[in-house]
């Protein structure tokens, strides 16, 4: 059965013209030359500037807000507070617990208290200074464990635990009884920042017909529209959101950023367009971040390498508001025992409110934080037993049709074992002793390690997940392919063009892709959850036959033959009996146009789901997962603790690779983001105030920290996907995290449990592991 499926793909592959090829990015030249205009790059002659007054304290009651002086400023157009919100004063993707503008309390320094529109940025800043807010300062809640205690000050009326999820399978106590070895450790993870090149910002504008236009990068324009409508008490049909392209997203623009502020201001500027563009400093404070986790993991294993029990307790700091925190902790728990068949698991997660900024969606969505526990323990087991770390992983990995640690049968494709086989066979792993000996100075130590992980594709159970695409024949014989899912840097638009050209059998230059436009495109869900290639691709592949039918019918009419006698040839439709007789797309357009017939078709597609949700899991399991193995080589300067990642081998199981160049873009970007997470990045907050202000102290990798990265894809055909594809965008940054941690250990004998593994932390761990001397020569 499986081998037959493979053969089909192979056969088909030979016929494929666009799929599987490194088709150049359709937006490549503009991006490379800097010609690409993001929303925040534009300006209008009659524009005004919007600014947001943020909370002065991380936790305080608002006693009064006085805007009189600010309003009197000659260059100020309007000053708005909660009183000026026509609709519901709140937003949040799942739980709208974040006020648009605070009324009686502020819960973090990201909170917005007032809005200003003024003639210049300077005037807007001055006006912010003139707004007088009288606060009663409260003691901030900054530690998740303390926040959960009885008696801690409550941030929200239901208390500080936003959500609690559990997954249990088997008998955990019996599992540990059976174990020959038990490992238990607590891991801390950083508050990573998305650090996109384009900070949050955009435009709001009232049109003459009274409709509202919001041009603002985002990851789900159709949902942004609904959140705006709710706050404005406005018919959503009167709101148009243009949300593409994004100067990077990574989850950081999944939630509302400034869209509602723009909308409120635009309604109060007398028709003048209003722009907000956060400075990097404001973005650091106001933007959502990755949830810092505290994860305690206890793993039991037998001498032969069989994992028998895994117990996990994860606590996520969601900051002052939920955003997607509940979903993040649920996904974390779903993945916390790895892509394995551990018969006894007991996992629970808490999503907890504190006054530490706001956390939300971020590439990896909780899996980054939890994968380190199980993977580190497997490496410890390998060391204890002398077994090969790859063999232990293979021994415990589930295959398609097996029962996972969660207790469900995995029906979709699973490539873990193949990725591990490729890891075992790769040059870096085979010759690791050679590479480790290549140190240039006596105090430098090198280490090699491997790790594997997985990541769900699409939404879990309970969250409807669908895709939709339109294809419209244009006058010039091109096809306008509309998919609402935004371009956020991934290159999904190029894949959409490839899928459309392949399905329609036409030249790729005939495809015009429209994304992130609520007026022209149908709701197709988010650009998140590693779903956009899979979902958008399937939606286009569903719409394409409808377009082919439309073309065929009209061609039959024009050629005076029956529909069955029309053949879809490359870039034209021909008479099957006489190939010299054909019609062009332009001719078909003209004919349809003359008859006043629609030239637009739609395709709708519902993502496959599991039937039964694991009780209390918050949405597990997923139907589809992408799998991935990383092998890394690091060099540690034991004098300073500086760690250098020198080589990375990225082995993703992505289903069919639709665009190899795009895949490498993801594996390389993911590896670098994973390196940043593991070694450098953290937004430090103390007592509710940001210690990290901007990129001076938020250290992201530069090209000099970028190692050689090799990509070896495993193509486990996913039958439900477009041409066999799955999702890739998140898993590419995950196993590299524990791999680097273990490679540091392999190099130095020191383990760091608190990420990022900064030079200081690594140095300290080395000192603690062998306090006798600075260098061992």
């Amino acid at each position: 059965m499986k081998s037959k499926a493979k053969k089909d793909v192979l056969n088909e592959e030979q016929k494929l013209k666009w799929i599987g090829k490194s088709v150049k990015r359709i937006d490549g030249p503009e991006k490379v030359t800097g010609e690409q205009k993001y929303k925040t790059d534009y300006s209008y002659s009659n524009m005004v500037w919007g600014k947001v007054l943020r909370a002065k304290y991380p936790f305080a009651k608002i006693k009064s807000i006085d805007t009189v002086k600010a309003e009197a400023h000659p260059d100020v157009i309007c000053v708005l507070t909660y009183k000026d919100i026509p609709g519901f004063n709140g937003f949040g993707i799942v739980t709208p617990d974040q006020p648009v503008l605070c009324e009686d309390v502020v819960r973090c320094t990201a909170d917005a208290v007032a809005l200003v529109a003024a003639e210049t940025v300077e005037a807007a800043d001055e006006a912010l200074d003139l707004i007088e807010v009288d606060y009663e300062v409260l003691e901030p809640v900054t530690d998740v464990e303390n926040a959960m205690l009885q008696g801690a000050p409550k941030l929200h009326k239901d208390g500080n635990i936003h959500s609690h999820v559990t997954i249990k399978n088997g008998d955990i106590d019996a599992g540990f009884d059976e174990a020959d070895y038990i490992f238990e450790h607590t891991f801390y993870s950083p508050r990573q920042m998305h650090a996109f090149i384009e900070t949050e910002g955009g435009w709001g504008r009232m049109e003459e017909d009274g409709s509202l236009v919001i041009e603002c990068p985002g990851q789900y324009g159709h949902r942004d529209k609904l959140q705006i409508a709710r706050a404005l008490a406005l018919n959503p049909e009167r709101i148009h959101v243009y949300s593409s392209p994004n100067g990077g997203g990574f989850g950081g623009k999944d939630e509302i950023t400034v869209q509602i502020y723009l909308a409120l201001l635009a309604m109060n500027t007398g028709g003048r367009p209003v722009k907000i563009h956060l400075s990097r400093e404001e973005s650091v404070i106001a933007g959502i971040k990755r949830h810092p986790f505290k994860v305690t993991v206890k793993t039991g294993a037998k001498k032969d390498g069989t994992l028998v029990a895994n117990k996990v307790r994860a606590v996520a700091d969601t900051g002052a508001y939920a955003s997607l925190g509940g979903a993040v902790i649920a996904l974390a728990i779903e993945h916390a025992s790895g892509p394995y068949t551990i018969p006894n698991v007991d996992m629970e997660g808490f999503c907890v409110y504190t006054n530490n900024g706001i956390a939300g969606a971020f590439r990896g969505f909780g899996v980054n934080q939890v994968c380190v526990g199980i993977e580190t323990h497997i490496d410890m087991l390998a060391e204890k037993t002398g077994l090969d770390p790859i063999e232990i992983r293979k021994k415990n990995a589930y295959k398609q049709g097996d029962i996972s640690s969660l207790g469900h049968v995995v029906k979709s494709s699973v490539g873990t074992i193949e990725t591990l086989d490729k890891a075992a066979a790769c040059d870096l792993w085979k010759n690791r002793d050679y590479y480790k000996n290549q140190v240039s100075e006596p105090w430098k130590k090198r280490g090699v390690a491997v790790a594997t992980s997985f990541h769900g594709v699409g939404m879990g159970i309970g969250t409807p997940d669908y895709g939709a695409a339109t294809i419209e024949l244009l006058q010039d014989g091109k096809f306008k392919v509309g998919v609402a899912i935004e371009e956020i840097g991934t290159g999904n638009g190029t894949v959409y063009a490839q899928v459309a050209a392949e399905c329609l059998k036409c030249d790729i230059n005939r495809i015009v892709v429209v994304q992130g436009d609520t007026k022209q495109t149908l709701d197709s869900g988010t650009i998140s959850a590693s779903r956009s290639t899979y979902t958008g691709g399937r939606a286009i592949a569903t719409a394409a036959p409808n377009m082919i039918n439309l073309l065929t019918e009209e061609a039959a009419n024009l050629l005076g033959v029956s529909v069955s006698e029309i053949e879809l040839a490359y870039d034209r439709l021909v008479d099957a009996h006489d190939h010299t007789r054909f019609v062009t797309y332009e001719e078909i357009y003209e004919s349809l146009h003359d008859k006043h017939r629609s030239k637009r078709v739609e395709g709708h597609f519902y993502l496959p789901k599991e039937k039964e949700e694991l009780k209390n899991s918050g949405g597990a399991p997923h139907h589809l997962y992408g799998y991935m193995t990383h092998v890394v080589l690091v060099e540690v300067d034991t004098l300073t603790g500086q760690t250098d990642v020198i080589k990375v081998v990225a082995i993703p199981d992505v289903g069919k690779v639709l665009n190899p160049q795009g895949l490498e873009g993801q594996t390389e970007g993911g590896a670098v983001m994973g390196i940043g997470y593991t070694l450098y990045e953290d937004v430090l907050i103390e007592d509710g105030y940001h210690k990290t202000k901007n990129f001076t102290d938020y250290i992201i990798p530069t090209i000099r920290e970028t190692p050689e990265i090799e990509t070896i894809p495993v193509e486990s055909n996913e039958e439900s996907g477009p041409f066999g594809a799955k999702g890739i965008a998140e898993v590419v940054m995950i196993p590299i995290i524990p791999a680097i941690m273990s490679a540091i250990y392999d190099a130095t004998g020191a383990r760091v449990y608190h990420l990022p593994a900064t030079p200081e932390r690594v140095y300290q761990a080395i000192q603690e592991s062998k306090p006798q001397s600075l260098i061992s020569r």
């Binding site: 210690k691 102290d697 530069t702 000099r704 020569r777």
Partner: protein
């Protein structure tokens, strides 16, 4: 003062610049590469009435050897230093320090005069200037004075330079054939990073293996200003610099520094790193010396 209300003037000669600096009515500030100035302006920390843009005063951009000394114009960019044959041969430690500044873009824009005037305890060229016995020429409309680098800094961001003065040149000693130097920097990453600790070393070597006749060591980022490590300097002369001696000297370094804790590193780590960087630097220097 609003940023939008500030004026910018671009003198075309040094004399014109000195006149502008002598302005009694308005606050003025020099703008060279702008890599510190623009950042501080944005932060609202520096907002004079008038910016005096000296970036194009090419008369202050030169590197030349004069009587066994090297004269460097204040507007010399870090890239100029990195690419100068003279600096690489006769003041290697300064060339290496300039190469560690930010990244290429910063090195192209930033100047040595700006690095000194900013007076950051983490400024990367400054320790190199300390071990090269730099003298700084300050000029005003009425006066010219030459100040040893050790006397220039009074605290973080503070110098003895008066508001009507400009740094015109930097004079350093030219290292002889038997002299050798190195700059070591520890930042949170390899490029675009502020030093957690840095150290400059310049040694005069003797005839015997690894014999050091005299040495100078200056640390950055471990005290309110750059400091010389005099105890370690003394120890350099006691024994040939074999690895165990290097280790002992380096171990003493932490006693010479008095760092603070901040978001970048703890005081304890900085102390340890003073030792580590000194050890690494001396080890590398000796290796290079033996290979020469």
């Amino acid at each position: 003062m609003k940023v939008s209300e500030a004026t910018l003037v671009s003198p075309s000669t040094l004399d014109e610049c000195l006149l502008l600096l002598n302005d009694q009515k308005h606050s003025v500030q020099l703008l060279a590469g702008g890599t510190d100035a623009v950042v501080r302006m944005k932060e609202g920390v520096w907002n004079p009435d008038t910016w005096i843009n000296i970036k194009n005063l090419d008369a202050l951009r030169y590197i030349e050897e004069v009587n066994h000394e090297i004269h460097i114009g204040a507007l010399t960019s870090h890239t100029d230093l990195v690419e100068s044959k003279l600096i690489n041969e006769r003041a290697d430690v300064l060339a290496q320090a300039a190469k560690e500044i930010g990244a290429i873009q910063l090195q192209n824009m930033g100047t040595i005069g700006g690095n000194i005037a900013t007076a950051s305890p983490a400024g990367d060229t400054i320790p190199a200037l300390f071990v090269l016995d730099a003298k700084i020429e300050l000029r005003s409309l009425t006066d010219t004075r030459l100040i040893p680098i050790r006397e220039i800094f009074t605290g973080p961001g503070r110098t003895v330079k008066k508001s009507d003065e400009i740094i015109t040149k930097i004079i350093i000693r030219s290292q002889d054939e038997d002299e050798i130097g190195i700059f070591e920097k520890l930042g949170p990453r390899k490029a675009q990073s502020i030093s957690i600790v840095n150290v400059a070393i310049s040694l005069k070597m003797g005839e015997k293996p690894r014999e050091c006749l005299e040495g100078k060591i200056a640390f950055g980022s471990v005290a309110p200003t750059i400091i010389r490590a005099t105890k370690c300097e003394y120890m350099l002369k006691l024994n040939p610099l074999f690895d165990d001696v290097i280790h002992d000297i380096a171990s003493a370094a932490w006693k010479e520094v008095m760092p603070i804790s901040d978001v970048r590193a703890s005081a304890k780590y900085r102390r340890n790193m003073a030792s580590s960087l000194l050890e690494r630097g001396l080890y590398r220097l000796m290796k290079r010396w033996e290979e020469q």
